[in-house]
Symmetry: C3
Subunit: 141 residues, 3 copies
Amino acid sequence: MSWFQRQIRLQRRGKGCHLVHDEIVKQVPEIRDYKVGMANIFLQHTSASLMLNENCDPDVRRDMNMALDKICPEDFPYIHTDEGPDDMPGHLKSGIIGVSLNIPISNGRLATGTWQGIYLCEHRNHGGDRKVVVTLQGEKK
Amino acid sequence: MSWFQRQIRLQRRGKGCHLVHDEIVKQVPEIRDYKVGMANIFLQHTSASLMLNENCDPDVRRDMNMALDKICPEDFPYIHTDEGPDDMPGHLKSGIIGVSLNIPISNGRLATGTWQGIYLCEHRNHGGDRKVVVTLQGEKK
Amino acid sequence: MSWFQRQIRLQRRGKGCHLVHDEIVKQVPEIRDYKVGMANIFLQHTSASLMLNENCDPDVRRDMNMALDKICPEDFPYIHTDEGPDDMPGHLKSGIIGVSLNIPISNGRLATGTWQGIYLCEHRNHGGDRKVVVTLQGEKK
């Protein structure tokens, strides 16, 4: 049984859903040491989210961003508006989508399905880079 | 400390929310070996979801499906429409609901509340059977 | 490697989003014994949710509750209405937001970001106190 934990950073991106799967995996090559285990990927922010979704067609990410804007619009009668019209919808999307992914590890790889990849959903128009804590645990090879 | 991992299949179902709690638990009887631990149930797909919700009244599952269709309708202005009108709403629902459940294990049983059961939310009109990776870890009895 | 599990209770609250971070942490001081690990916080109910979100401005919690009511309104054509108009929207919100949080532990503390705190989102007008199973695992100091 072995534990590993590292804080990594995801580069600053504009508002939208971005495929960051490889950017994350490259920063934790230790995944390949685990025969069976669990990876937790935890975003330390409240106006962005982590999501598993379709890893191939960029149109899915565009549609996802469009649909999230329709479900969580800027024109709800929010009170918390000091930080701009994109702030409270960002908290709302973050709460609905979530910030903590748990992905099994099998034979040194994340056991995602063929079409699954990790998205960073950036909900702010001008967010910064984003901090992520990756925690690995399991039985090593 | 002991790890266990198995890929299981959930039989093909029509669009809707389905109570699959027993179908999952029966395929991993090893749960009963753990005194205290954690079960991760991970769906390897992007147009279906796993949800914990009310395990008794089938009307809740019908209402859930109806409500998800209202929140994530087929008539949003999607670009990604090649795979049919149910495809992009399926990705959207999958992203919002999620595909990875973490349920504590206590004394050989999933420590769910009295009214909680695992749903497979199938978002496609004609999805196939669905692959799930179950990972158990904990202290054995 | 060490496991810890305790069922705790969150006091009864009215409908809305409530910051319960300290109420939870105070009931599991054992967190401070872990150098690196994982905390799972699991709500055993189907009409309330656990969410990580902004821990500072109470207006965010008010806006969150308002927005969830708009996304999951009471006037959808629900069948399951025996327990009142707030019941099925509660199941819906619970399914969308989720009931199981996974938060890494680093150096004896939950590794949440500066602005993150745990919310109990109570979806019923007259819910009772809420049961939560907290499971800690990791390497002790």
